[in-house]
């Protein structure tokens, strides 16, 4: 270890949590989750091509309690990454960088993604089918 007494940058436990850092962290986390979800998407296509038995196997796995929890997680990950991704595209164009707008759009990403997840999961459960 270095013996110099340089000041350390504050670590995560010391930072006061702000919605802007939550949206940034969640964007990465949901991105990683969706990358795994992409493999499930390939499994779905492969099972559909392989035959009815393989497809039923897929349906049983994804229709199990763990499968449904994962699907709900991926649904929220998708909508969050979508909402916050659109927010990032707007910011890439140079808009929305004032602190007030930045905080407001952070909250919008979180809240709108939760609402969309609620609508989609609610619809899927009321329709009574999984995957």
């Amino acid at each position: 270890m270095a013996e110099t007494q340089r000041p350390l940058s504050p670590h995560l436990q010391i930072y006061k949590w702000q919605v802007q850092m939550v949206t940034s962290i969640l964007h990465r986390a949901t991105g990683i989750a969706l990358s795994v979800g992409a493999l499930i998407f390939v499994w779905w296509l492969g099972a559909l091509a392989a035959g009815e038995d393989a497809f039923n196997q897929f349906k049983i796995c994804m229709g199990s309690p763990i499968g449904i929890i994962l699907l709900i997680g991926w649904t929220w990950s998708f909508f969050y990454h979508l909402c916050n991704g659109i927010r990032h595209l707007v910011q890439d164009a140079g808009a929305g960088y004032a602190i007030v707008q930045f905080v407001r759009s952070s909250w919008a990403s979180v809240i709108v993604s939760l609402l969309l997840t609620l609508i989609v999961v609610g619809y899927a459960l009321s329709a009574g089918g999984a995957a």
Binding site: R28, G31, I32, L34, S35, A38, L39, F41, V42, L45, G46, L48, A49, A50, E52, F55, N56, F78, L82, G85, I86, H88, L89, D92, V120, Y123, A124, A127, G128, G129, A130, A131
Partner: protein
Amino acid sequence: MSANAKDLRHPLKRARGLGSAQFGVSHWWTQRTTATGLVVLGLWFVVLVLGHLHSDYATMRAVVARPWNAVLLIAFLITMFWHAVLGLQVVIEDYVHTRWKEIFLMVAIKFIAVLSVLGGTLAVLRIALGA
């Protein structure tokens, strides 16, 4: 120091505009381009799935076999994995500090992505062409 030593970079390096990573802004632009595509393709896919929560195996195959659906599913596959590789690459660059692990993961995600796209595309084609 003389006045012309303000910028230590060679004029040719500045003209090429590739920066220290040697890739210039291509990563940034490709990430945004695929993101824009995924906004449309992702929403289309969610609507497609929600419309077929109760569909049986034969119906689902017929849906995937429709030309527009097959084309868009393959486009979705390519764009999704391309975007995933670009995003995971940044996460690996930021958090994996052991050089050999970093290179191993960088190569691994590319191999997995290419195989997934090829496998998924073959699945769609098998269904679409009735093989």
